[in-house]
Point group: C2
C-alpha cells in the first residue's frame, strides 16, 4: 500500500480531532477552521516527464524492462518531497515543482548500479527513496537537472540470518514491520521503533541515522549496523568484517548518515536480539522538567537502564501529547512532567531492572503512576503523524524539530530553542504552544524533541521557515547538534555546514567527489552543490 | 622518563626469566642462548641529520625556539620505529635506517599547525609520536623524504572536566597513568587499560583505535571519544557537539583509526566514569576453548557483563601466560582453559553482577577458581612486554598478533591463524608454541589475540615476516579483520587495502588528499603512498 499522498500513512487510520481539541485550539491558539478547498490527487497538475525515449530506454534496460519504470502522475506525486509539515502544506497547495521525472524500481544491487550508470549517461540525478518519510527535505534535490526517484521497494529480502552471531542481512527497501516479521519467524527482533516505524525502511534508517523509541535499551540504528553494501556510481563498497576493528577509520560510520549522497545502500547487516518475553511500560511523574531530567541522567549514567525512557516537559504533559489518545481530556488537569519507563526482555531480568529503576526514580523525586500512562503511550506511539494531519485539516500548524547535546548544555539548549520558536511565531502573529520531551538518553547527554502547534496564519510555510531558522541558530549557539535523528536533508544543510566546519565539509565533499564524480546522487542534500 | 631504546618500558622493571622457563624453552622449542653481542646505545651509528639550517630554523620557529627541537643521536634513536618484535630485533642489531631527521616538541595546537606548515615548506614528512608503542610499523614512514618525529610529550593538560556530562578534554601527549591521575583528583576514571597502558598516550589511543583489558565494561577507546580537535596541513577540524547525532557521517569515526595520516590529534574529549568503589577479578576453568568461548558469548549476548572478560586457550593456559608470574610453575600441570572475569563498580552493583555472571558461567560448564588466578592476572597485566624482552634476551622469538570476527566465524579463524603460524614457522625450522586468548567480546563477535614463541633461528625477522604474511592471509580468508586493536601501520597495510576494498581505500585517499595535499603526514602508514 502507498502512503497517503497529502499526509501520513494509511488513509483508513486517519483520526479526526475530537471537538474538545478543536475547541481548545480555538481558545488557546486562535486556530480557525480553513476552507475545504484542499485539492484531490486528481486536481494536481504535474509537468510532463522531461525524459526522452533514450533515457527512458536506458533506465528500463537497467531495471529489466519498462515494468520497472513509472512516469504516471500518481507515482510521481507520491515520490515528491517527504513528510515535513511544509512538504505537506506545499503538496496540499498543489505545488508539484519537486516532482521526479520518473520512478525507477531496481530489484537487485546490480540493477541499482545500472540505474546509476544510466543516470550518469543521460545527465540525470538519482534520489534513493525508501519509505519517503524524510521530514528534513531529504527527497527534494537541487533542480538543475531532472532526477529520478530510485525506489527500493522491490528489494525486501532477508538475505542472511546468523543466530550464533545474532546478525541479519536485510535489503534496504524492507519497511520496519516487514523486517520485524521476517526476523520474528526466527525468534529475533531488531528493536528499532521510531515514530516512522510503520512506513520507514531499513535503508532509510541507515542512511539517515535513525533512532528509535527504545533506544535506551536497543541503541540507535547506527549502533545496530555491522555491515553495509553500497552501490555508487564508481562501483561497490562492501564494509564490515567484524563487530569492531582497529583497521583504519570506520567506513560504516562514513556511510551511515550520508543520506544517499555517497551511494545507495543495498544491504544492511544488523545486530538482532531475541524477541523479548515481556514488554512493560509505566508512567512516572516529576514536579518539574529539571527534576525529571536529573532522574533520567542518573539512570543513563549509573543505571539500571530501562528499554524505553522519555520525559515530557510541563507543556507537553499538560496537553497530554505523551498519551495522544488522552489529549484534551483528563490530562489537562495534570501538573508536573510525565515520564515513561519501559522494560523489554526476559521476565526475570526485566523484573530486576524495573525494581532498580523504580528505586532510582523514587529517590529522584518521581511518583509512580503505574501501567496506565505507559500503555497509553505505547498505544499511541506511532499516531502523532496522523494527529498532525488532523491538526492541519483543522487549520492549525504543527511541526517538530529535534537536537541533542551534552547534559550540562541541555537546560540552556531547551530554553534557547523554546524561546526562539515562541518569539518568532508570536512576532508572526501566530503565538505557538511549544512542547518538548527527552526521548533518547546517553551517558553524556540527551536529545530534545520539540513539538510546535499554532494557528496557520496567512503564510504558514514562510512563518515556519523564519521560526525554524531562528531555532536552528539557537541550537548551534547553545552547543547542540542540528539533528539528533531527523538528519540533514536540505532543511538543515546550512547549519550542518556550520556544525561540521569548513574542513569537515571539505573532507566529505572529497569523499562525495570520489564516489560520485558527476554529483548525480542526491545533489544538494546533505552537502551544498559545488 | 624515556622508554628503554632497545625494548619495553622502564629498564628497572626488567624481569629476567626464571631458570625453569629457560630450561622449558630449550626442551620445548630448541631455544639456545644467544651470544652477548648486543650493542649498547653508544654503539649505534646514526646518520647526520639531513635537515639544513633553514629547515631547522623553521621548525624551531614553529615550536617557540631551538629548545623544542632535538637532533642528538639518543633522541633520534628513541623515536625510531615502534615496539614490535621485528622493531626490537632491528634496533638491537644496530639498524638505524628509520631514524627521524629530528624530534620536534610542539606545546600547543597552534605549534602543531606551525610544525606542519614548516614541514610542507621544507619538503619534510611528519610522524606524530605519542608513547612510541606501535607494534605494527606505525612510526616508520616511507623514506622518500626526511621526516621529523612530532612528539606530543609537551601537550599533557587536562583542558576541561564536566562532571555533569561526565566528559573530560585531554591533551594527546598524556600517558594513560597520568591521565588517570588527573581524572582521579576529581573522582573519575577513563577505564582504559590496554597492555601498553603505562606508556601509551591519549592521542595514540584515539589515532589507533585502542582497546583496553576492561573493554567488556568500559568499551573500547573509540567508544569513549566524544570530541576531537585535529591539526591538519589544511587547518583545524573540531568535531563532536553531542554524544550522538544524525547530522551527517560521524566525522569522529573518520579520524579515529586514521593513525596520524589525516592530521595530528591535539585534544580528545572523552567519556569519564566515577572511580569504582571496588575491583574484583576471579578465575574460572573450562574444559575446552570451545566451551569457554560459548560461555563468553552467552555473557556478551545476554548478560550480565563483567568489566573484564577473557579466556585463554589450552596452550596459553598450560604455559600459564595468563598469569605471567606463574609461568612454568604449577600452571604447567593445569588442563583446560582459564577464564578471567572481573568486576568494577559499586559494592552493591558488582555483587549482583558477579552473582549473575557466576550463575551463567557455572551453567555453561565453568568451574569457579576464586580470586587467586584473577589477582595474578591483574598483577601481571602490563608485564608481557617485559617478558618478551627477556625471551628475546634468552634467544627466543616472541610476538603477538590479533584479529576479530563475528562469533560464528571465530572457530574457523582460530584454527586458520594457528595453522598458518604453526606451519610456516615449522617449515622455517623454528616450530613455534602458538597460544591464544579472547580478550574483547561483543554481542556479535570477539577478538582473538595470538602469542607466538619459538627459537629465533638464523633470521628471525625474515622468518616472522613469512609467518605473519601467512597469518594475515589466513585472517582475511577466514573472514576476520586484519586488526582488532593494534592498528594498520605499515605491517598490515597490504591486507588492510584488501579488507577496505579499492573503493573504500579510494574514499580514504580522497580525504587524505584534501586534508594533507602534500602527503606529509605519515606517508605510507595506513594507506600506500600514491
Amino acid at each position: 500500500m502507498d502512503m497517503l499522498w497529502s499526509g501520513w500513512g494509511d488513509p483508513a487510520e486517519a483520526a479526526p480531532l475530537p471537538d474538545t481539541v478543536t475547541a481548545l485550539l480555538g481558545e488557546l491558539l486562535g486556530v480557525r477552521p480553513r476552507g475545504t478547498g484542499a485539492p484531490t490527487l486528481d486536481d494536481l497538475r504535474v509537468p510532463g516527464s522531461p525524459l526522452d525515449a533514450a533515457a527512458l530506454g536506458a533506465l528500463a534496460d537497467a531495471v529489466g524492462g519498462a515494468d520497472g519504470i513509472r512516469t504516471d502522475a500518481d507515482s510521481r506525486i507520491r515520490h515528491t518531497r517527504g513528510k515535513s509539515t511544509p512538504d505537506l502544506l506545499r503538496i496540499r497547495a498543489g505545488d508539484t515543482a519537486d516532482v521526479p521525472a520518473a520512478v525507477v524500481l531496481p530489484a537487485t544491487h546490480d540493477e541499482v548500479l545500472a540505474v546509476l550508470c544510466a543516470c550518469a549517461r543521460h545527465g540525470l540525478a538519482a534520489v534513493p527513496f525508501g519509505g519517503g518519510t524524510s521530514v528534513v527535505g531529504g527527497l527534494a534535490p537541487e533542480r538543475r537537472r531532472p532526477f529520478v526517484a530510485l525506489d527500493l521497494r522491490r528489494m525486501t529480502g532477508l538475505l542472511d540470518l546468523d543466530p550464533v552471531s545474532r546478525t541479519a542481512t536485510l535489503q534496504p527497501g524492507l519497511r520496519a514491520p516487514h523486517a520485524e516479521a521476517l526476523l520474528a519467524e526466527h525468534g529475533f527482533t531488531l528493536g528499532h521503533f521510531p515514530q516512522s516505524y510503520e512506513w520507514a525502511t531499513i535503508g532509510g534508517f541507515a542512511a539517515a541515522r535513525s533512532s528509535g523509541q527504545a533506544s535506551a535499551g536497543y541503541g540507535r540504528f547506527d549502533d545496530m549496523v555491522l555491515g553495509l553494501t553500497v552501490a555508487t556510481p564508481e562501483g561497490t563498497l562492501d564494509i564490515g568484517r567484524a563487530p569492531r576493528s582497529a583497521a583504519g577509520p570506520d567506513l560504516r560510520q562514513l556511510i551511515l548518515g550520508s543520506e544517499g549522497a555517497f551511494g545507495v545502500i543495498t544491504a544492511v547487516t544488523v545486530r538482532i536480539r531475541p524477541v523479548p518475553e515481556t514488554r512493560r511500560y509505566e508512567g512516572w511523574r516529576f514536579a518539574s522538567f529539571e527534576e525529571g531530567a536529573a532522574a533520567l541522567r542518573r539512570l543513563a549514567q549509573d543505571g539500571p537502564r530501562p528499554t524505553v525512557l522519555r520525559l515530557s516537559d510541563e507543556s507537553e504533559t499538560l496537553i497530554g501529547l505523551a498519551e495522544p489518545a488522552a489529549i484534551g481530556s483528563a490530562a489537562a488537569t495534570d501538573t508536573g512532567c510525565l515520564a515513561i519507563a519501559g522494560y523489554e526482555g526476559t521476565e526475570e531480568e526485566t523484573a530486576h531492572r524495573r525494581a532498580g529503576v523504580a528505586a532510582v526514580l523514587s529517590a529522584c523525586g518521581g511518583t509512580h503512576l503505574g501501567a496506565g500512562p505507559g500503555e497509553r503511550w505505547a498505544d499511541g506511539r506511532y499516531s502523532a503523524p496522523y494527529l498532525r494531519d488532523s491538526l492541519l485539516d483543522a487549520g492549525a500548524f504543527a511541526e517538530t524539530l529535534e537536537t541533542a547535546a551534552f547534559w550540562s548544555r541541555v537546560p540552556r539548549l531547551y530554553a534557547a530553542v523554546r524561546g526562539a520558536l515562541t518569539d518568532t511565531l508570536t512576532e508572526a502573529g501566530t503565538p505557538p504552544l511549544v512542547m518538548c520531551h527527552i526521548s533518547h538518553v546517553y551517558e553524556n547527554g540527551a536529545s530534545l524533541y520539540f513539538t510546535v502547534v499554532s494557528a496557520q496564519g496567512a503564510d504558514p510555510v514562510a512563518h515556519w521557515a523564519t521560526a525554524k531558522h531562528a531555532a536552528n541558530d539557537a541550537v548551534l549557539a547553545a552547543g547542540g547538534t542540528i539533528s539528533h535523528h531527523h538528519g540533514v536533508g536540505t532543511d538543515h544543510r546550512d547549519w550542518y555546514v556550520r556544525e561540521a566546519g569548513p574542513l569537515g565539509v571539505a573532507a566529505l565533499r572529497a569523499v562525495k567527489r570520489r564516489l560520485d564524480p558527476e554529483g548525480l546522487l542526491n545533489p544538494g542534500i546533505l552537502l551544498p552543490v559545488d
